[in-house]
Symmetry: C2
Subunit: 142 residues, 2 copies
């Protein structure tokens, strides 16, 4: 009768939740590099004050986060100067931008109101696997 199964598979959720916690840890990083990329495109540079305004947090919080991003190799910055994406940050930003767009377009394509889609996409994008993303893509172009 095959191997002893690992109990009821429905009970083996630990891995799912571990991956969920990982996704969590990446969310802020992804939102920041995406936003920094947007700012550079739209305004020519990314300043702390603009990030703080767009995320709705204080300048001190932005400062903390930028330090972490710098430590992790996603951005470079010099005191009192604007923030730049590294190669690594650029790559992640592009990936996030594309993914966001796909999720947003998909939601709109199935009939979700654009404003709601914009909000939901912001939360959903960090939790969509590559596979699901491809299903979304197919659905849009059909």
């Amino acid at each position: 009768m095959g191997d002893k199964p690992t109990l009821n598979p429905r009970h083996n959720k630990a891995e799912v939740f571990a991956r969920l916690r990982d996704a969590h840890a990446r969310e802020v990083t992804e939102d920041y590099v995406e936003m920094i990329g947007d700012l550079i495109n739209e305004e020519g540079e990314a300043r702390s004050v603009a990030l703080a305004e767009r995320f709705g947090v204080t300048a001190a919080t932005v400062n903390n986060t930028i330090k972490r991003l710098e430590r992790d190799g996603f951005v470079t910055s010099r005191p009192y100067r604007s923030i730049f994406l590294t190669e690594k940050g650029e790559t992640l930003a592009k990936k996030c931008r594309d993914r966001h767009q796909i999720v947003y377009n998909f939601l709109v394509s199935i009939g979700v109101d654009p404003d709601t889609a914009e909000f939901d996409a912001e939360g959903i994008e960090h939790h969509v696997s590559e596979e699901t993303l491809r299903v979304f893509e197919s659905a849009i172009s059909s």
Copy 2:
């Protein structure tokens, strides 16, 4: 010419991110009440050790979280005894269970592999608005 607009609307994301942070703060609570409900249904009671195993965290972490849930009125517990949902916890658990099922069914219905759907649903469910959830529902039953 109408009111002075609040700059470019695309730049006014602060509210989106504030709501996102709120959703974040609710995620663990939702996962726990949902899991506690499942355990009570499946095994007759919810013990710390089972929660720890299913979430893949230590008993100490479960203990912390249960204290918080108790403080917030979602569960009751007595030392060395099993955990119970309050009315409030029960209500939230049901809402989460239903929502999870809709997201899961929707993903499967558009062609996502059930295992992937199970994983993605766990992350997505916390970020789906009521409106999008209703769109998902309609999509399933058609």
